[in-house]
């Protein structure tokens, strides 16, 4: 697959979109894979007991899932040289069904000297932003 080229990009262009479906099983799976066993991510009574609306997704699961569209667009996950986010709103995950997180990735800035592009991610759940200042820096040729 042809990889994107820096010279072809323009600020504001949407380069990738996607959706991530999170269910309880996915949270348990991420807990095991990451080693983050905080019960707010799998025990409903614990989560509501500390004031949350329901079990919530690991912020790191949301962050880690949505960047896949950027890695796939870049054609090389190792080209993602920096990635940051702010966790602005939790994603409640119901016992039945799924919580859908949508992502849109757009060119935020181009640094021709460094050979990098800053990709800004807009990440929403039910119309509200769940990540803030979510930016991935990608090295391209």
């Amino acid at each position: 697959m042809a990889r994107p080229v820096l010279a072809d990009l323009s600020v504001g262009a949407v380069v990738a979109t996607g959706a991530v479906e999170l269910d309880r099983a996915r949270l348990v799976r991420y807990a095991g894979a990451s080693g983050d066993f905080n019960p707010i991510h799998w025990d409903e009574s614990f989560a509501t007991g500390v004031g949350l609306p329901d079990v919530i997704a690991h912020g790191m699961l949301t962050m880690g899932s949505v960047v896949g569209v950027v890695a796939d667009w870049a054609g090389d996950p190792g080209a993602v040289v920096a990635y940051q986010t702010r966790f602005t709103k939790p994603v409640p995950v119901p016992r039945d069904g799924t919580a859908v997180v949508e992502v849109s990735a757009a060119v935020g800035a181009i640094d021709a000297d460094a050979g990098t592009v800053r990709v800004d991610l807009t990440v929403t759940h039910e119309g509200g932003k769940v990540l803030g200042r979510s930016q991935a820096t990608v090295r391209l040729s």
Binding site: A33, N38, V67, P77, G78, V80, F87, A136
Partner: protein, 152 residues
Amino acid sequence: MANPDFAGREYAATAPYSVGREKLREFAAAVGAAHPAHHDLVAARGLGYPDLVAPPTFAVVVAQRAEAQYVQDPEAGIDFSRVVHADEKFVHHRPIVAGDELVTVLHVDSVTQRAGIAMVTTRCEISAQADDGTREPVSTVSSSLVIRGEDS
């Protein structure tokens, strides 16, 4: 509440974390990272890597183990049931690959308190350690936690 005396603290390097192929595949599957370079050795080598490549947020697995030295220390005064993850930032000096032996030096960059809310910021400097003990910088992982007060 969070003990301000921990601000500025630097911990000794952790014991090495051995990055395994199956762990990378497991983590990639958990975050839905389908790129073949996480799963298929031929694909990873085709991109010039010596082995399977970690997804961009895999370093959190290594970082959170190091952060436990601080957040699980009773003296640090962090009530984990009141913790909210506020920010996370990765800077990769090079991609993590299977076979890496990663050692982490944890820094507590700040501990601040205001109006019943505490915020702590940690930084993990992760390096790959060679057999001869030399270290190559791999990732810097910065994380901020907010700890809500007893009555908020």
